[in-house]
Symmetry: C2
Subunit: 400 residues, 2 copies
């Protein structure tokens, strides 16, 4: 990987400019005898990656982070039922998982009151975003997102030769009106919106999303990323017609359910779109262990309720820590809190670096004006104790 910023690891990829491809500016055969003979598109892609993992930073530092609060993982852990299911299935992992994930899809369908034909499962939302882009974006097609929103979506749009159009956030929120206007002006095939949002933690009420779907220009598909929906206020998740062909919703077991290390995500879409994923997905990609654990997690309502309460408490605590230092913690509907460090991006990056040197892994948005902030994932008190103890010194060191 060419660009390694140990602390500012919340980088975005440059969108692939399709004009480079069309004019053949970069050709696989120009790269010399020992270079791989990539397609023109692949050869044109940058070497940057959406995220640098904390382990990379730990290896660079020569020590592990004391508080892992950067990747919006759930330090409150997986559901006990999921841990038990994973341990129970361990001896059975010589068998591939069911490529249709019948039991998991049925449970998800029941949970949402839809049919299994509305459900697509995959190796995390990341994989599902990639497949959605692959199905919808040919070279030069437009996808619209917000400047500073999820970098992995941008990575996939670039990766399939799409043209990414970004509109600014508005008051720390993604801006549905601006997204719609851009989609209309650019004849976009995809519009990406996370509700609740990452990295700002903000959210729109369900009615705003419903109105947005109604106003989508013809031919545009809304990717509604609801990775944090389980942690949002009750009026955040819209009731949408499950057969509406204009929207695909994405959900994750990596956040509230605490199964990030197993990679299970799913999408809810009208059956013709859901079925199209079978044309391109890695059919055996969701393994037996991941399916078993996700199924158990979905049924462990008590754990989810515990996590929801713990997240609410931790939000308040991080808010209080920010306030102690005269800073504003943005309201959050997620398992992280974004703190406005009150100055410019260079200062926020400096704070991030100083926290890192004190053993605290956090990330920050990669795009102005969001990059005046740092993003602190919520976790149990021992991790937040470390954050509380180091934030002041880090701020002071960064201010020097």
């Amino acid at each position: 990987m060419a660009e390694l910023h140990p602390y500012v690891s919340f980088t975005t990829v440059r969108p692939h400019r399709i004009t480079d491809l069309r004019h053949g500016a970069v050709s696989g055969s120009d790269l010399g005898m020992h270079a791989p003979r990539l397609t023109p598109l692949a050869a044109s892609l940058p070497d940057t990656v959406p995220f640098v993992g904390p382990e990379t930073q730990e290896r660079a530092m020569g020590q592990m982070f004391a508080a892992r609060l950067g990747a919006n993982e759930s330090g409150f852990g997986p559901a006990p039922a999921a841990i038990a299911a994973l341990q129970a299935v361990a001896g059975d992992v010589w068998m591939y998982g069911d490529p249709e994930a019948h039991d998991l899809k049925s449970a998800i369908a029941g949970h949402h009151g839809v049919s299994p034909a509305h459900v697509v499962v995959g190796e995390g939302i990341d994989a599902l975003l990639g497949l959605t882009v692959r199905l919808m974006i040919a070279a030069g097609d437009v996808a619209v997102t917000s400047a500073g929103a999820y970098p992995t979506f941008n990575f996939h749009v670039a990766g399939f030769g799409g043209r990414l159009v970004r509109v600014p956030y508005r008051d720390n929120h993604e801006d549905p009106s601006a997204l719609l206007a851009a989609a209309r002006a650019e004849r976009a095939r995809l519009v990406y919106l996370a509700n609740p949002d990452n990295p700002m933690g903000s959210w729109h009420p369900a009615a705003t999303i419903t109105a947005m779907v109604a106003d989508l220009p013809q031919g545009a598909l809304l990717i509604l990323d609801e990775a944090y929906a389980d942690l949002a206020p009750g009026d955040t998740v819209p009731e949408l017609d499950a057969d509406d062909p204009r929207v695909i919703r994405m959900r994750s077991f990596s956040k509230a359910h605490g199964l990030a290390g197993l990679r299970v995500g799913y999408a809810l879409a009208a059956p013709p779109l859901a079925r199209a994923f079978d044309k391109v997905r890695n059919h055996f990609g969701l393994g037996r262990a991941a399916q078993a654990a996700a199924l158990a997690a979905l049924g462990d309502h008590a754990h989810l309720a515990r996590v929801q309460r713990a997240v609410a408490r931790a939000r308040a605590r991080v808010g209080a820590i920010a306030a102690e230092h005269g800073l504003v913690a943005l309201p959050s509907a997620t398992n992280f809190v974004t703190i406005d460090c009150g100055r410019d991006a260079a200062f926020a990056r400096h704070v991030l670096a100083e926290l890192g040197q004190r053993g605290v892994f956090v990330r920050m948005p990669g795009v102005s004006p969001l990059d005046r902030c740092i993003r602190v994932s919520l976790g149990p008190d021992p991790a937040l104790d470390i954050f509380a103890a180091t934030f002041g010194p880090a701020l002071r060191a960064a201010a020097v």
Copy 2:
């Protein structure tokens, strides 16, 4: 999924014909208001899938298979060390896996005497094949394989708009000379060869592979699928220059290591090619649990040796069962034995169906002339006992 053949589940996908795409025969906007607006390529892809899982057949039958001998899984189970590692990591799966898979890649590199820069890890060989095709095959580019070889490779070539050229097997072996001739004539970018082969279980000596690499036409990359290498005779795996840009080797934890349900594969390639995967791969796709279990499996040499001995015994036993019925079991360098049923494809399909009705899951090749055979995965004696008891009755029922 449109085509479900409960027993003949070893289907191949039709290769995508790029002429259809260029002339716009199928367009997303022709599909009606409620159809997803797929790219022309995606819209043109067939609804067939590479494999139907045994679970789908079990649901159709209303009961589980008594002997699961169809997917070349390892009934000898995962390594005890891998089971223990999976159980130990269960509580930690709230954390994403290291996206660089540093520890696993280092161990793999050490195992093969290469550097970590030569190693790519992914969600099984299936995912790595897809990424390799994506990096190398633009619309209309040619990939060469053998007629009846691994369907998932064909699925990916079709999926990225490539043109698949297939050459026949020769005496139940993939035919390196024919593959090379086709690659030369068609200016292929990719050539796929599995050594040992699936579905026939045959193999070429290392020297044949080394000569094949030397004779590759310029610009062609050999995908050397060595999923079964751990189970092959000692002279099967060639010593290749790790920096040779003409070949990428694929290995799996799903076969000898018995971790099919965790989805871990890896590729060995010259560093410039290995690095290119970072442009397109699902960076967090290999989860923490999968990495931990694979790392432990790689170190459990005693289990691998046990599996190798058990596979050798089971090969002999399946050979003896075939011989009892006057049939020939083909020599195998894999964890399955392919039995020539001695008649035509219809008869072999009938045998497969009769075995299925008796609770035995096996598969068969999908392409003539290989499809006169059935393919029996090797497993422990209780599973082979069931096969032994049902094969005769199945043959007799099929002969009626």
